[in-house]
Symmetry: C2
Subunit: 762 residues, 2 copies
């Protein structure tokens, strides 16, 4: 039956391309069911305060309003209405107090969006304001405490090892110790220390959050179906079942296409409120946010980073100390895991004998921060690749050379002690050097338009240990169904997974249907996040396909048929006497993993390493500080690409997204209020913001432990962008920027400072 | 993990009861999707004719009409637009000619039902009428030929052995020969021969036919999803894929709850037209029939039956010859299989050494006939149990005694030669005798209100060989999902299947979700028909649950846990480190089967036998012929009941349904036109038509080859009703009726004949 298909490694067009370009693709926002009510939220106007009263009278009286609920109403259907993946800290609607400006305080259910919005505007609330804290470093010691009591969820075994401190804003502190940094600093030729900062930014998928919750039966024995724009249907099922006190089979989570996710839609977001409203109203409820409301849902962590290195005179790093403060906002979401899982790579992809890392997840009175493409890594790379460059410049060592000297080589121990395996750091760096023609001098531009170049390289561990499962079902005519809970949110996973099935079973991709996530159907998958799916789900899919193929071959042989040459339909017809039957293969995957000890040491931190490097060329107007990124070269290690064309778009997408975070995107706050909560005021990259030269390349590598040699790629393009550009600006005009975003104003201030003529407010 | 649950054998309330009584249950009729068009059909006004012209101009011009299609339009998307399970004989819309009055000739797609109906009334057509044939016996020799060429579908391997004759109306003829009837008749003490007839009736599920067809993508590479009220989602997928020339994975068939089926909704009905319209319009299309339109969709076969027996003077039947003419209407549907699969039991549940059966599937110019609860058996039992009683009365042998004498006993050969196994014929007959207090004389009533009693016993083979598959998926919290394509159309299969899973895995039924049929998800099942599901799907479900349980136990042991005592969630947590993972078990079942030879002989005709017997008591007004069924006692062999309460409702339902066919239901025709196509004119049993005494009992039996000892029960209650009542009338007033329905008028005519004073038109 095995045809010479070789589906893996080919740039097959995306399975859903036609449906999307013709507008047939289904999204939750477009879903309407009979009797459905629309939910609109009334939000807090203070950043921190005790709720004195909420007046919903006028809203309730409005024609077309079905109900108005506050936090206390939620308790009628959910006794403990707090949710979250790491902590059960987030109330579905505020209870007792509000913790950020924009927090949902009440919800209107009405016959349509217009009525719901109008009614929500009739709600008012009074608060006794409390002192608030906004900065992550201040949160370490502030007497303004966001959560009086911390309630760890117990979901992740790893997080139990880490301390969280009730009565403080520290949700979690992670510490890694390797060697003796103090001793090493004392004996180092040079010690450098720098501070960096990154701003709060947003995921902004073009499809905002949306859930349609449909209750059936009664509160006690009924069921609840959620159609949701989630990246983690399995988790939503578990969490909603927990909130309702139901077994998992009573909650069904279905995910159609997603209009982007980027980490915004992981774990639980719009689902909790939609579910609670549906249970209260006993009617289907749609809770769909506007673009603007995304500014109050989930953000990327702003960070403060301190990094200190001991270095020999020839540039060998002997010790590195990192402190990272993650601004988690008012609710932990998955922040503690960012703190831990990204924390352990804070010293960079370098072999350093003495490492000390302290990483803190902090509560503040801002919108909650969670996972965003890179899961904290772009912040860390920003710091360590700026810092590394600053050392090189100080020591007058070529930026490429200092990286070559220190880079972690195959088989060498990373800061956790885990040995590097199948991590093409060297290859990525060398391909970057080649493509940038680093050995040739750069054209330095004109007197006023100065040119410079910079490079940066970063790495990331995969989140571990996590489980994926898949089922492959071969139909009697030889077509197949793949049941997988991986969410195709635009990254092309459906196509890649179908290619893997095609490769194993030997049927063309067109005969393979990928069944979209539906927790009543598709088996467990931890979530679609952290670039884990190609590797983890890929393994599960490969295992399931191989299981199905083995069963098919066995059936053929039992019937006295040649397993290799009999067409699939003939095997079924001989077995069942007509076009009938299925062959069902099951696959699961969980990588080996060893929990880190108290010093963050483990032999098995991750099943694979993601590697991304960027080279940037810039042109800076020395008179105005304005600069242009004229070239971006992005190199990644994806192992073997399952679908090279899709890999290419993943690199592009990640790079352009990080370009926005590097140059233009920034949430502005005034006393905790977002002051630019609209796409008119918050500038994401448009087509004209893409550098005229942008080159993406997946190096020729092989993740030997991966399915078909593949590993994840969704985030690798983000790693090096920010420091490469900052390093290029420094190279061009000698101005070092240490805060994101990089703006013409900051460059201009730097130029004035450098000239000994600072602006008056500097 | 195994709890002492003992779910099997308990009368657990139906899983869907709450959803149904509160109106939450979803039906296709209530489904609405954005952009959906409504289809309404324009039907033929002649019973047989060549289409001269169809005028759709006015309909097309109507505001709100999207399109009007005729048969020729269908060819644009389906080159050969003929469908059917046994023959590819039925055009989606009439092509060239019409074959019955009521046949769909054109279809309107419009924005709503009202516009569609109004537009359909603006269509007109002209025909060149052809001679028509309506009676099944006349069809044998009529020169009015309904189909010039016969096109067997090739779906069922068995049907290939049987002849069908192009140029005649004989779709299929089945012949069984055992011993030598002619020789036996020559030597018999007595030979009796009688003729019987049954009328054309309807299934009339309270939910008429409905399909919503949703196209996605383009015609070549797209997909089509059908939400349909079908009993056979797997078959619909195969048939629609065949029509469109697509692989099966491109067609998805989803079935929500069904409001009854009774065989009306097997194979392919409203799906073909809905699919074709959706493909032409590139828009979602709903084709839902009215109650009235059911009269033109599918009926039960009217039959003429001739039965002749050779008998010894003490009542031993030595030879039996049966001829059955099945009125199949204009399209074969599954009629040929009725002819064959029921044909071989036409001689009754008696051990008879010499048997000759000729069974003919005939085309006529009436609405098509197909499967209806009993699949032809009630017609056969009507004949052979009336005939047996007439012999007994003639020979003055007690009706119970003659049956005792001839009944097929365990291990003895049925007419096909297949030995009877686990067929509690004797037990059923004896329990019936006991409950009827047959040994005590009946109170014979008054001079004018005469009382009588009658019994009848029938049996049925299961359709064979057919395949069922199931998947059982255990979630990390111990709850389970069962994926099964069995359609719960009210018979309670979801509950019964969940009980089997519960029994095997040891979790309560409430923690088990039965995933409704969805061909992208639930694996192949031949269909929900012929009372096959409890046995076939039951086996598949049991096998799947056992497979899952074995894997769970193996996983526990691998982890060093006690398989028997560790709670399921603890096994998963230890394996996956968090609430994660699934265990997936797969089960399939196909019974052993041997195709009959040219004489209808086989050692393996059926995996199990269904047995049903009815005792009736009647009171007849000798002055008017009016009669009342005062008591009905229904005995069945279900092996071991999975859910006794549901079995009880199955017996009731079947009995009441057959009571309608016995007493009041009859489609009336005038030149092929149905003259009573409405529930006002066609009387189905209401609550007041149920006999004051109705007793149902499943005898204590055991189908050793069945899952948990169970077998099917959906039809057994229908078998004996009609002849038991006719026999009771005969017992009361000495009037023998040989045609269904049994009416007061027929009794009155009989009384007048008996008195030598016939009505003038008799």
């Amino acid at each position: 039956m095995k045809l010479p298909i070789a589906a893996v490694g080919r740039s097959i067009p995306r399975l859903e391309a036609h449906a999307k370009v013709t507008g047939h693709a289904a999204y939750v926002h477009n879903l309407s069911v009979p009797g459905m009510l629309i939910a609109k939220v009334f939000r807090s106007t203070v950043a921190h305060g005790r709720i004195r009263s909420i007046d919903v009278t006028a809203a309730r009286a409005m024609l077309g309003v079905f109900a108005v609920y506050t936090g206390e109403d939620i308790r009628k259907v959910i006794a403990e209405p707090y949710y979250g993946p790491a902590f059960h800290d987030q109330p579905i609607l505020a209870l007792d107090k509000v913790r950020y400006a924009g927090e949902p305080v009440a919800v209107v259910l009405a016959v349509d969006t217009h009525v719901a919005e109008a009614a929500a505007q009739l709600i008012s609330a009074e608060y006794d304001e409390l002192p608030a804290v906004f900065n992550e470093v201040e949160a370490m010691t502030s007497t303004a405490v966001v959560h009086e009591v911390l309630k760890p969820a117990g979901t992740f075994a790893d997080l139990k090892h880490l301390k969280n401190k009730s009565g403080t804003n520290i949700a979690l502190d992670f510490h890694l110790r390797r060697g003796d940094v103090d001793k090493a600093f004392a004996t180092a030729d040079h010690v450098f220390e720098h501070n960096f900062r990154t701003q709060q930014v947003l995921h902004l998928p073009l499809e905002p959050f949306a859930t349609v919750a449909i209750p059936e039966g009664d509160r006690k024995s009924g069921t609840l179906t959620l159609h949701s724009s989630t990246q983690s249907p399995s988790f939503v099922r578990i969490e909603i079942a927990r909130l309702l006190g139901w077994p998992e089979n009573k909650v069904r989570v279905k995910v159609p296409y997603l209009g982007g996710g980027f980490g915004a839609k992981v774990y639980i977001k719009s689902e909790a409120l939609a579910a609670a409203c549906a249970m209260l109203a006993r009617r289907p409820v749609k809770f769909a946010t506007t673009m603007e409301e995304q500014f109050y849902m989930i953000t990327k962590h702003a960070t403060t980073l301190r990094i200190k290195s001991g270095v020999t005179r020839d540039g060998k790093i002997t010790a590195r100390e990192c402190e990272v403060w993650w601004n988690g906002g008012a609710y932990a979401d998955i922040g503690p895991r960012v703190t831990q899982k990204s924390g352990f790579t804070a010293a960079g992809p370098y072999e350093i004998d003495n490492v000390k890392i302290d990483s803190y997840a902090l509560y503040t009175n801002l919108p909650a921060a969670g996972a965003l493409r890179g899961f904290g890594i772009p912040q860390l790379v920003w710091a360590y690749e700026s810092h590394t460059e600053m050392i090189a410049r100080e020591l007058k060592i070529d930026p490429l050379a200092i990286r070559r000297t220190n880079l972690l080589r195959e088989g060498r121990p990373q800061a956790t002690g885990t040995l590097m395996r199948d991590a093409a750091l060297g290859q990525v760096l060398e391909r970057l050097a080649t493509r940038m023609q680093w050995d040739k001098p750069l054209d330095r531009g004109t007197e006023t338009l100065r040119r410079g170049r910079g490079i940066a390289i970063g790495f990331k561990a995969s989140i571990s240990p996590t489980t994926s499962m898949a089922i492959v079902n071969i139909n009697a005519d030889g077509s197949c169904h793949l049941y997988s809970s991986t969410v195709d949110m635009g990254q092309g996973s459906d196509t890649a997974m179908a290619q893997m099935v095609s490769e194993v079973i030997g049927v063309p991709v067109q005969k393979i249907t990928v069944v979209h996530p539906d927790t009543d159907v598709t088996p467990y998958d931890m979530a679609t996040l952290g670039s884990r799916s190609t590797y983890h789900m890929g393994h599960a899919v490969k295992n399931a396909a191989e299981d199905a193929r083995d069963k098919l071959f066995a059936m053929a042989r039992e019937l006295g048929l040649s397993a290799e040459t009999t067409p699939i339909p003939d095997v079924f017809k001989k077995k069942y006497g007509m076009q009938a039957g299925n062959i069902v293969g099951v696959g699961s995957f969980i990588p080996p993993y060893t929990s880190p000890d108290a010093n963050g040491q483990t032999t098995d931190a991750t099943p694979f390493w993601m590697i991304g490097a960027t080279g940037a060329e810039v042109e800076v107007d020395i008179e105005t500080g304005e600069f242009k990124v004229t070239r971006l070269v992005n190199l990644v290690d994806v192992g073997k690409a399952i679908n090279p064309a899709i890999v290419e778009t993943q690199i592009s997408g990640a790079t352009i997204m990080q370009l926005g975070f590097t140059l233009t995107e920034q949430m502005n706050f005034d006393a905790g209020h977002v002051t630019n909560a609209s796409l008119a005021d918050y500038k994401i990259p448009g087509i004209r913001d893409i550098p005229p030269l942008m080159e993406n390349e997946a190096v020729d590598a092989n993740q030997k432990s991966g399915p078909f040699g593949a590993k994840g790629v969704g985030e690798s393009g983000t790693f090096g962008v920010s420091p490469a550009i900052a390093n290029a600006i420094d190279d061009a005009v000698g101005v070092r920027l240490t805060s994101l975003p990089l703006t013409a104003e900051a460059v201009y201030r730097g130029l004035r400072n450098k000239a000994g003529n600072p602006l008056r407010n500097d």
